[in-house]
Symmetry: C2
Subunit: 384 residues, 2 copies
């Protein structure tokens, strides 16, 4: 990853051949048409967004493209994680075929993580792959989902169980979109930014905590700075390991437990909250093993609470979670694997994913549910 | 592409990093378990085949893997092109999730082109990609479908409209499988082999014509020789252009019209027959333009008839075909494109795909339908 000035981040993909740039801009409506022509030339463009984003921004962005003389269509789907499934994907591919779209089409995913994942999977599979531009509108999509080329849909059996790698031609980030986000949705996004701090950069973590009130309020200047810093961490990690065979697995911190929580609660716990709880539990498990600095889990929890994220454990059986983690994509030979951190800003070195005993996981979940005090390394010491 | 001895063909993919070998073997049941362990190591294997192949070979191949101590499951789907759709794909991905398959699973596609395309698309998309081994059982799959990493399913709107590139870990070809094929199914496969001769190698074309009676009879020795020669042509082409941006497009000779014919007849014309007719029509169009050697179309038709392929044009409106070709994956800006050959053994040089006037296409189809005599370059000369 390199930066040119401070407004662009180059992300390596496809062994350089499919590298792309994240552009940080203000005034996407004015800028997007020219950027598409320059960085993602296509015979026609299809804007894909959910019904919420369509109502807020569909007409404006669509009109700006039409006014610039581009051949543009617009497809929408119902807002919400439930729409990120095979049937919405099938519907969108059918609509592209009906529109007579050829392989010289580029899709523009305008929205949050559901949209960038779904539009991305459509782009990856329609006619074996068409162009893709991501225009994230949420914090979560700006710092995480839109970056790195992972695209896909959920199965009842688990998040993102179907998908592929399909790097975009470019990502256009305009922090102004975040001004219309509800406060809890902003907070969800900052959870992934905090995660970037935990696994890689203590300074980023501390900066986020300090700026929490402004970021929650939707202060665009503060948001722009922190989004760019956080996107840079993600961009750097996926640049060195696009296909998730090494360092990129660090991004799964909090996600082994987080994804299981989403699954066992039938997606009633949001992704951000599930990952937040997952980070607390997985950090605490590391403390129990004596490899994570004492107090780390608590520092993470305090930071999450500054962002008004509810980290209370929902009423689920710890055994159900430890059963569910076995079906995780990170499992090998049926054994779930976790990212373990040394402390805030540093993960344990390679192997990035490590097996933890089910019993430890269940005990840690129970402890977190009881919101007991500081972690104490004890009988689990020396087990990793 | 390189050959080691004469029993292996190396196919380049993923910028070398995902290159794989086509192994020509006898006695796949005895050889496969060890080959899987060596070339496609996985925690578990899932054999995917249609109900016909399952009945003939499922128990035998399955038992050989189980006997070798491998962790093996078997999934089947209904035989026939109609099953190559999103719903069969969705069913297979659900079954993998139910079986608790992790990313350390490899799928083994055992069957014809429908199976290798479908198993390949499941492997490409389940958990963003798992291992894939192709064990083709038809001539068509051995010389064409299993090679090159193109995987996918059909939409009502067209063949292979959904898919991706997912190179296998290896391809295992045992010509003995072809002994149980019905004679017309063998012939279908040799159509694609003839196409390889037309676009690249007059000697291969002539060899096929000479061997036609033995090949139709299912003579295993003759089949082995011609399958290997034909697979080598395909392997060489996809090695220089995996992602279909240049030379690989040559493989589409006969397929612009062929795919349209399949579509407008609602798949009642088989792929092999549709491509056979497509080759006659597209060669004839080249003759009309004065760029293809006179008599080429007739020589192709005679060769196809030696393989007992019915090249009579079904009763369809030529205008319906010229409308349908516009939705082809090869179209750009809504204009269909075709491979044009100079004569048998040679295509016209880059650009590999060229636009032809709708009117010429319709006239050529009408001519072919009337089975009129030798092509004469006339008013279309100089139009390419």
């Amino acid at each position: 990853m390199t930066t040119e000035g401070s407004r662009e981040i180059l992300v390596r993909a496809g062994g350089e051949s499919r590298s792309y740039t994240i552009y940080f801009v203000r005034g996407v409506r004015e800028r997007l048409p020219q950027m598409l022509v320059q960085h993602a030339p296509a015979h026609r463009y299809v804007l894909i967004c959910d019904t919420n984003v369509d109502e807020l921004y569909g007409d404006g962005v669509g009109a700006s493209l039409v006014d610039a003389g581009l051949n543009v269509s617009r497809l929408t789907f119902p807002a919400g994680e439930a729409a990120k499934d095979r049937s919405t994907w099938a519907h969108l591919t059918d609509r592209l075929a009906e529109l007579g779209c050829g392989r010289d089409t580029a899709l523009v995913g305008l929205g949050g993580g559901v949209t960038t994942d779904l539009a991305g999977f459509v782009a990856a599979t329609f006619m074996r792959g068409v162009g893709l531009v991501q225009v994230p509108t949420t914090i979560l999509a700006m710092v995480d989902a839109a970056i790195g080329g992972k695209v896909g849909v959920n199965l009842a059996a688990g998040k993102n169980m179907i998908g592929s790698f399909h790097p975009p031609s470019m990502i256009v980030v305009d922090p102004a979109f975040t001004s219309t986000l509800p406060r809890p949705i902003r907070a969800e996004g900052w959870v992934e930014a905090l995660k970037h701090g935990v696994i890689r950069d203590r300074g980023h973590f501390k900066g986020l905590v300090e700026q929490a009130p402004a970021l929650l309020e939707g202060d665009v200047a503060a948001t722009a700075v922190m989004v760019e810093a956080s996107a840079a961490i993600k961009g750097q990690i996926v640049s060195v390991d696009e296909l998730d065979r090494g360092t990129r697995q660090l991004l799964n911190f909090g996600h082994t437990v987080g994804h299981a929580l989403e699954r066992v609660t039938d997606w009633s716990v949001s992704h951000g909250r599930a990952v937040a709880i997952g980070m607390c539990v997985e950090a605490r498990a590391g403390e129990m093993l004596g490899v994570t600095a004492p107090g780390t889990s608590e520092e993470i929890r305090t930071a999450l609470e500054r962002f008004e994220v509810d980290v209370a454990m929902p009423d689920v059986d710890p055994a159900a979670i430890s059963r569910s983690v076995r079906g995780d994509k990170k499992s090998r030979e049926g054994h779930p694997r976790y990212v373990v951190i040394a402390g805030i800003g540093h993960a344990l070195p390679d192997p990035w994913l490590r097996e933890l005993p089910d019993e430890l996981l269940e005990e840690t979940i129970a402890w977190h549910a009881a919101e007991a005090g500081r972690a104490v390394a004890g009988r689990w010491s020396g087990r990793l």
